[in-house]
Amino acid sequence: MTVMEQRGAYRPSPPPAWQPRMDPAPLLPDAEPYRVLGTEATAKADPDLLRRLYAQLVRGRRYNTQATALTKQGRLAVYPSSTGQEACEVAAALALEERDWLFPSYRDTLAVVARGVDPVEALTLLRGDWHSGYDPHAHRVAPLSTPLATQLPHAVGLAHAARLKGDDVVALALVGDGGTSEGDFHEALNFAAVWQAPVVFLVQNNGFAISVPLAKQTAAPSLAHKAVGYGMPGRLVDGNDAVAVHEVLSDAVRHARAGGGPTLVEAVTYRIDAHTNADDATRYRGDAEVEAWRAHDPIQLLEHELTERGLLDEAGIEAARKDAEAMAASLRERMNRDPELDPMALFDHVYAETTAQLREQRALLQAELEAEQERHGEQEGGAR
């Protein structure tokens, strides 16, 4: 049948499938990052929460400096510091209930620790004795994800599965500004919105992906503006304002738990340190920028607020500091012990049940190690 034979009704109206769809306005972020500290909203904040956040921020900063120090002592292979981003890291951990799940990216050991994972176990990957050090199920924290943005679909799948099972569990997934450029970011957010999965995405926009500044990463008005393209709300928050981040994340978590679906949160913050200890940030950014951000330090912002409101005095500051020092001392001490290494473990977890091939290879390595030991023994014996 050709067209000509199909004449008849003709409808110069909007295309039939077109129904006015969701109003995009509520999905768009505010023009400015949401802040609490230094604004009127601060009065409403729960003093207990503020103090908890403060203590955690101080601990968090100390954790960052201690871990960085451990790289210099050769105790960590590498450390991507979250100095300057402690408000995001801590708020992410504190916004979750115990039954919820956290999906960290490689920079987020602090969030992992703040969630309750033993710092030594959180640092296993970066020390290099194994890939992931903690039991993900113990604290409901996924392994640190090195391939950027790949953890986001995991968070969506887990949240979706929990919902299918009838559990009111929320997943919070962390990603960097650079990670938003990956295809996996897009696919994860799309699946989340289509499935209305109870998941919250927190982008820590710290200005850089290694050396690449945000302007080379995206031309969007903000990263939070990506949300509308998936049909979920986008929220923009001052990432150095721990109270604001905590509030925005808690709202998003509550919303997700109540069946309202996913939210994309962009926290505007700054990576004060170099990308990792191995990086030289002076190659791609100036001191002035760093200094400007130092003056917007998340700990000082909160400390100022607490002191102003009479919720914190010198004794309180000192107590927080002492607590942080104790944590650092314990971490230092434990990290200075050599980890126990078992080369045979290389074969133990590749499959649920090992294969004939791996058994052969295991035996080969075993024999090599025995020969090595024998040689050592002989040498030592000879030396005596």
């Binding site: 890939h131 993900p136 995991h154 799948g157 295809g183 696919e187 699946f191 133990d348 499959y351």
Partner: protein, 334 residues
């Protein structure tokens, strides 16, 4: 394992039934992929599952393979057993990073604490007149990735049995379904449907004394046909169906080669860097002094998969297999 042949079915039907039975037996089994729900899959292999188990158990996903496999990882983390369908071989490539960097490594990464019991079903191979990107044999990529099982049925009974085993496995399994055998019919016994050898075991499909053909998936029927034809030339060919490329059944394969002293590996995948290299090398390592001739390979050419009108020239056929058998240095015997 003896199977009483009672009921003919196609391989596609056996696969459907395997998923159906797995879903009925275990509420944590979820099927997901592009068009697997209402449509029942472009090959109809998931036909009826959404109807029987609901869309939450058999889900039409958005069109994004990394997203499909990536969300399946998350679902498995929460205790589900996702069965993921990749629509065609070449459309599994976008999911490569998820497969290599996560699916294959999560158990090892977490010292066994976070296994990922995911089955990734991939219709693969050519011979169906498919246009570009619809006929790839991608098994070499999967074989080279430790942490994955790589399984491929060649018979209707194995389609059922191996898929049930794959879904039940606590390890991720790349389950390669030979597209051109989807409509192959065979008798099998639906009352003992899992009555097949376990994943990891190869099976002698035809005993023989002159030489051993080692193959899997889409090339099994071709090898059996070649073995029949070889009789006229006076060769009694043994045919081994590997069934599982990982783990590899050295025992069965080497026992056969030691018996016959001659072997040809046959597959559709390109030869260079393909599965045959590994197979030939390991046989040679293990059976060198039993070999009367080098292990030869009959494989697809080292070219991108051809357009449908030319694919027959690429695919290993009976003649090419017999030519290889003829090159197994028979004169050396005399």
């Amino acid at each position: 394992m003896t199977t009483v042949a009672v009921k003919p079915a196609t391989m596609a039907q056996a696969l459907t039934r395997a998923m159906r039975d797995a879903m009925a037996a275990d509420p944590t089994v979820h099927v997901m992929g592009e068009d697997v729900g209402t449509l029942g899959g472009v090959f109809r292999v998931t036909d009826g599952l959404a109807k029987e188990f609901g869309e939450d158990r058999c889900t039409d996903t958005p069109l994004a393979e990394a997203g499909i496999l990536g969300t399946a990882v998350g679902m498995a983390m929460y205790g589900l057993r996702p069965v993921v369908e990749m629509q065609f071989d070449a459309f599994a490539y976008p999911a490569f990073e998820q497969l290599i960097s996560h699916v294959s490594r999560m158990r090892n990464r977490t010292r066994g604490r976070m296994p990922l019991p995911i089955t990734v079903r991939v219709p693969y191979g050519g011979g169906i007149g498919g246009v570009e990107h619809h006929s790839d044999s991608s098994e070499a990529y999967y074989m080279a990735t430790p942490g994955l099982h790589v399984v491929t049925p060649a018979t209707v009974a194995d389609a059922y049995g191996l898929l049930r085993q794959a879904i039940a496995s606590d390890d991720p399994v790349v389950f390669l379904e030979p597209k051109r055998l989807y409509w192959s019919k065979d008798s099998w016994n639906p009352d003992h449907p899992t009555d097949v050898e376990p994943i990891g075991r190869a099976v002698v499909r035809r005993p023989g004394r002159s030489a051993t053909l080692i193959t899997y998936g889409p090339s099994l029927p071709v090898c059996l046909e070649a073995a029949e034809a070889a009789q006229a030339e006076g060769w009694d060919l043994e045919v081994i169906d590997l069934r599982s490329l990982v783990p590899f059944d050295d025992e069965t394969v080497c026992a056969a080669v030691r018996r016959t002293g001659r072997a040809v590996v046959v597959h559709e995948s390109t030869g260079f860097g393909g599965p045959g290299g590994e197979i030939a090398a390991r046989i040679t390592e293990r059976c060198f002094h039993h070999l009367e001739a080098p292990v030869l390979r009959v494989a697809g050419f080292d070219i991108p998969y051809p357009p449908p009108m030319l694919e027959r020239h690429h695919l290993p056929g009976v003649d090419r297999i017999l030519d290889a058998v003829a090159r197994l240095q028979w004169e050396a015997e005399g």
